[in-house]
């Protein structure tokens, strides 16, 4: 019966033979009381193609703010701790934890601790609620997935980067150093900069050199000074035919 039906249907042009062969009726399908069992593949298709409503909030870093959930005590304590960290610490680096085990984490913490760097764990929700109202709100997109904070009261960026080089599981996402939000690239550039004291020393030495040179010139013999001044006057009186050569002469004299 089925074969003859198939043969009939196959002869019709424009009909899909596969579909139609699958649709040949082999048994009574007249039960209308209950739903007929669905094919497993159709069930899967229905599951895959379910309706997904659009998200109310525009795509952003924050979860929806519709629901108001009472904060538990632990959350409040964590929030206070986060606040304290953000207040006290000069450097707050955000890292992504890519499945590092406890041993790796322990060695990393130990190595960081040598430089006075502390590893902190906070739930992302807590950090986001803190960031939302604070001046650090632009850091919010960093806190997605498994995140770890490395904080220090002195900005020891160079030490942190050198320590992190030994642990590939931790990926630096960004950092807030001295109230400036830096990307991972920015942190590396920042680490290459000389320290503030060196720069200040260079500046001070540069400034003092000028005065010291003036002072040393003044301390020369007065005859030398008078000779220089006489030379200068002569140059002024002479026609400005060869200013380059004269200037070179004067400079040579000064040096």
């Amino acid at each position: 019966m089925a074969a003859t039906l198939c043969g009939k249907l196959l002869t019709k042009p424009g009909w899909l033979p596969l579909t139609q062969c699958g649709r040949v009726r082999h048994m009574s399908k007249s039960v209308t009381r209950h739903r007929r069992p669905m094919h497993i593949i159709k069930q899967k298709l229905l599951a895959v193609t379910e309706y997904i409503p659009p998200r109310r909030v525009a795509a952003g870093a924050y979860p929806s703010q519709d629901k108001k959930v009472e904060e538990s005590g632990l959350v409040l304590i964590l929030k206070k701790e986060v606040e304290k960290v953000f207040e006290d610490c000069k450097m707050i680096a955000v890292l992504q934890n890519n499945g590092s085990n406890s041993e790796d984490m322990l060695t990393l913490r130990h190595r960081l601790h040598k430089h006075g760097l502390i590893v902190k764990f906070f739930p992302n929700e807590v950090i986001r609620t803190f960031l939302k109202d604070s001046q650090y709100c632009n850091m919010a997109p960093l806190f997605i997935g498994h995140t770890v904070l490395i904080v220090s009261k002195q900005g020891k960026v160079k030490e942190m980067l050198s320590t992190l080089r030994g642990s590939p599981q931790m990926v630096l996402l960004g950092a807030c150093i001295d109230g400036t939000l830096l990307s991972a690239q920015g942190v590396q550039h920042y680490a290459k900069l000389p320290s503030v004291t060196t720069v200040q020393g260079e500046l001070v030495s540069g400034l003092t050199m000028l005065t010291s040179r003036t002072a040393s010139m003044l301390q020369h013999h007065p005859a030398h000074l008078s000779a220089l001044l006489r030379q200068y006057v002569r140059q002024q009186e002479a026609p400005a035919a060869e200013p380059g050569a004269k200037a070179g002469e004067v400079e040579g004299a000064v040096a």
Binding site: T32, H39, I41, L45, L46, V48, Y51, P53, P54
Partner: protein, 229 residues
């Protein structure tokens, strides 16, 4: 301390029924139990007539409130009598009218007599039914009434029908349709039944029926799957 306060209450403006004309016979008509045919012919089951969405009588004509079928099914003459008696008894005929949106039973159902041996051909016609598809209006109610007045009557009736049914007004039906359209438009799922079935992805049409190409998986037989787009 007792605080006395006085105020003025502003009521909603009642709806304007000035243009409303009630028909001559506002009550539901009696529908025949058996169609008046010269020769009654046995028919096949033809379950297609309750499958999928309704193509006819799925919009309002005269009334404002209605019972809408949310699934397919067969209405018997008994159901029709129940609807007619309940609504005619409870509605106020001076301000309200009711109107059938279904036809009198016309589809013959055959049965074999009790204690008869199997075989011997198709049984005799036992009774007649009216097939109703999902989304069809069964009765319409209108007149100088608001939904709150007729809703209890209609819900009482809708509960007793052989398929899921609910009471709608013109506005709520339009809202339902608009919501469905909006859902179809703003579905965030990139994989839609329509595209998968049309494209015959992974040869899926082997397990789909041709009706799924039209209904996009919103119906299985007479059953409506709510929440699907």
């Amino acid at each position: 301390m007792k605080i006395l306060c006085a105020g003025i209450k502003t009521y909603d403006i009642p709806p304007d029924y000035s243009g409303m004309v009630l028909p001559d016979k506002p009550k539901l008509k009696f529908l025949n139990k058996v169609p008046n045919l010269k020769k009654a012919k046995k028919e096949k089951k033809k379950l297609r007539d309750i499958q999928g969405p309704a193509q006819a009588a799925n919009t309002f004509t005269a009334g404002n409130y209605a019972i809408v079928a949310m699934g397919g099914g067969y209405i018997h003459w008994g159901h029709i009598e129940m609807i007619r008696l309940t609504i005619n008894r409870k509605m106020d005929a001076r301000s309200t009218f009711a109107k059938w949106r279904i036809n009198a039973p016309y589809k013959p159902i055959t049965r074999k007599g009790l204690g008869q041996r199997m075989g011997g051909g198709k049984g005799a016609i036992d009774h007649y039914v009216t097939p109703v598809r999902c989304g069809r209006l069964v009765v319409e109610v209108g007149g100088r009434v608001e939904l709150g007045e007729v809703e209890p009557i209609l819900t009482e009736v809708a509960k007793k029908l052989p398929f899921p049914a609910k009471v709608v007004s013109r506005e709520s039906l339009a809202a339902m349709q608009a919501e469905q359209e909006e859902k179809e438009l703003n579905n965030q799922n990139r994989w839609t039944f329509r595209e998968v079935a049309r494209g015959n992805m992974l040869g899926i049409r082997k397990v789909l029926s041709p009706f799924d190409l039209h209904n996009h998986g919103r119906f299985t037989g007479k059953f409506h799957l709510p929440g699907r787009v």
